[in-house]
Symmetry: D2
């Protein structure tokens, strides 16, 4: 290999591999339990000059090598991908949880990675933080949470401290459903506003951020112990908790059978989804 | 089964199955070559009252039954899912091409479906139409195109006739790369503006819409025959067209090997991605 | 005048004038105290076929005639414009509070109208509801509030019942600063979700909506009585509560004078804006 | 005055005045014809810690002093405000052209300033560049253009070279309607993509950017000389080119008179706005 313009996209790959190898060794040596791949520039600015398929293939080869090396050195920590839709690129390859899951499934890596969900990245991708956490959870991928927040009307990453008790409560509902996050957890990927220039602001922000998460956890427990919200959801789907429902959910109801059942059914009525009641219950718990 | 409030979410499922069964039979009888599932209300308004995991499981059971029935009656047409991110729901389950692909992979349906990409839905999900087409293509899922357009600054589906020659050219570049769309094709999911009240407007819109696609195809061919844009992309990645590149792409380059190679490499330089040149070449072809 | 295609844009104007005349008379007869102009289609879909300047001139003539007629019949109620950025048009002429204020000032109507701020319209225009209320207030235009809410990540008007205690508290802070809203007030421009199909949902939504506003008012009072937030803001600007500050605010400090003062000043330090503390105080009051 | 934390917001004002004074003198000395106030941080991050009214008053005092100083030193150049909606702030006070015009009118500065419209800022505020240019023009405020472009699906300022012939054509249509821009003009507030690393990319970008504007101007002239688009717009409003229309436009048609006219009118029909035809004519000129 001779360095120079013709060899350089490849060179980036090669250097990156060497760097990740070293960082992974250090993580292992220090007893690290997680290793996050933050793909903040792994996307495109324009499709006109990009071979997206080839770039994704390269990314998959890279992650395969990382998995192999992790096993080789006996590192048992979780490998994590951190979804982010854009900024600085027009399109980042780990756009959101579902996009990342598709990538992992396509390349056979779904059992080797989890996701590190960042709330501010969630809002940038047009989703609520709760949506991204739930999507990660039901794909078996919820591994860690970057506890920050952004303004949903702002199109770049502001990494503010999460202060909204409601948002924290929703996040904690998913964490509890997930049976916790270990070996992952929460970390503050947050910084002071540029205009917060006092030394004490750093303390205020961290204390308020931790209090927000603590209040969120208490609220989530209160909601679960109270049970009204869970009962509301259970009732919505209880028609599936029947013999016919069980057959459908077991994949034993084909179209011929269902057509026969449809003819047997009288007039049906869709049960109320009771969104306003759900919102009232939720707000009352804050 | 007795109809009534308690049985009704299930009832919707049962009735839908009977309806799709009938529609599929009619499609088969008429010699149809495609069958599109337009999931325009299959999502949630609020996560507070929704069991997203159970709903997705139900959707998968439904699609499995559709696939089985298709085979049973000998219908060989393509089954298509049409991604749409939201409206009227807060979150539709077929948000975009990548999200739909993840769903299909998770439930083992990836070989049974293709996607019907609608350009206006693409922009609603924060992507360009070209991005969605490319994502579908490289996931082996590009089946059909709803040729319309929307304003990227507008947050609902306007279903306008595609009039932008540039957008049409990009779409055609992907269609050619895909080796065409058969048995799918283009269809106009477009309507006149409410203010276009003359009878002739209907003709003007369809003629202009078809001309736009035709000009897009001619431009795409021109770009491919000229070759400058393709050559620009080829050069960007040519460092992977080497022995070492081939090893990496074949998955034969582990981290130990790559670290050794990194030490051999001299200073590297990232080749210019030449976006401005690519944009200039593209605009010159319109 | 003979009806027909050539006379019709004018015809719309003429008919609208007759309709508004009648509606205004009825309002006056019934003792109405406000009259809202909801300009939901008064904008453009495309600038290519639109003479925006002429359309705005027409709108101004129309409002002038409405003001004159109001005075003629002795109707003393408030005339209100309701800002909305788009949907169904690409651009509505009353985009937001500032845009509406510019229109009213340009045509000399600023003293004849107030604004009816709708929270969901605020979010559609890229602003918080609080921003629009404050903008209306400091332009002397806050007349009425359509108390609803929308999802800031959704690009069309959903007209949900306002359930967020925080949003209600912010709205009430502005209402108090404004010395109330009379003769305007709050009205629910809100509707149930389509999936809320029980009769009781209508009651739940209205009760919860009213409770939300009531809790918002109590929180706002609590914040004002506590005074910490007000004190934080006062301190931020207290350097202007000096002799020099007073001169500047009175418009008596020209550049020559200020340059001289700059030379006298030692090193300056920007005081912390204390955003995290402000957020903590605010959340603690909810 | 003693420097220190308590005096510092004021201190920023004072220092800024001294700086602008000096910069204005230098501009005058060098024969400058324009002076742009780029208010990139003049807004708020949060309304909780901000007195928006007082800040706007301060901004007005500052601009008044700038106008007075300009006159004092005999500088005849145009003072320009550059609208930008946000980034780095949540809300910049010069959000868009209409918001800036409202500010200038409120404080009696409307005859002293013009606007410097930046296309990328336009898209960030939810408007097309053409909309902002037209809004500035019909408010008598179009003074200069920062000729760049952004991706309408990206929420931060990318300052790309304008390469879209269509966008350039629309901009030029407004410039021609405005009778040119002198003493302002176009300037490239644009930079290379980070990935464009060759020296030649700088030349390619500037050449392509200038060619784009030149092609836009030629297309605009072609459209105006052809006249079809202008005729389409003229016809849309021609019902106002009548005696009754003239009365309305002169403000001589009150509601009583219009009600009488409405009764005389037969059935009316809204003329087609012919958007699809307008789009077809426009695309054919590119």
């Amino acid at each position: 290999m001779h360095g120079g313009a013709t060899s350089s996209e490849l060179g980036v790959y090669v250097y990156s591999a060497a760097q990740v190898k070293k960082a992974m060794e250090v993580t292992h040596y220090l007893g690290g339990e997680n290793y996050v791949f933050w793909g903040g520039r792994e996307g495109y600015q324009s499709l006109l000059n990009t071979d997206m398929e080839r770039e994704l293939d390269h990314m998959a080869r890279f992650f395969e090598a990382a998995v192999a090396y992790k096993k080789k050195i006996g590192f048992n920590g979780t490998l994590l991908i951190e979804p982010k839709p854009q900024e600085p690129t027009k399109h980042q390859y780990d756009w959101d949880a579902a996009t990342s899951a598709n990538f992992l499934r396509k390349y056979g890596l779904i059992d080797e990675f989890k996701l590190n969900i960042e709330c501010n990245h969630a809002t940038l991708s047009g989703h609520s933080c709760h949506h991204e956490l739930e999507t990660a959870r039901i794909n078996g991928l919820l591994g860690n949470i970057d506890a920050n927040t952004g303004d949903p009307q702002v199109g770049w990453d502001t990494d503010q401290f999460m202060m909204d008790i409601g948002e924290a409560t929703l996040a904690m509902l998913t964490v509890i459903k997930n049976g916790g996050l270990a070996p992952g957890g929460f970390n503050f990927d947050a910084k002071l506003r540029r205009e917060s220039t006092d030394v004490e602001d750093l303390f205020i922000a961290h204390i308020a951020g931790m209090d927000t998460l603590a209040r969120g956890l208490r609220n989530a427990v209160k909601l679960l112990e109270d049970g009204s919200l869970g009962e509301l959801v259970r009732k919505r789907y209880q028609s599936f908790d029947t013999e016919l429902g069980a057959q459908i959910e077991a994949g034993k109801a084909d179209f011929d059978f269902l057509e026969k059942k449809a003819k047997e059914l009288g007039e049906i009525k869709v049960p109320s989804a009771k969104q306003e009641l759900a919102e009232m219950i939720f707000q009352s718990a804050l």
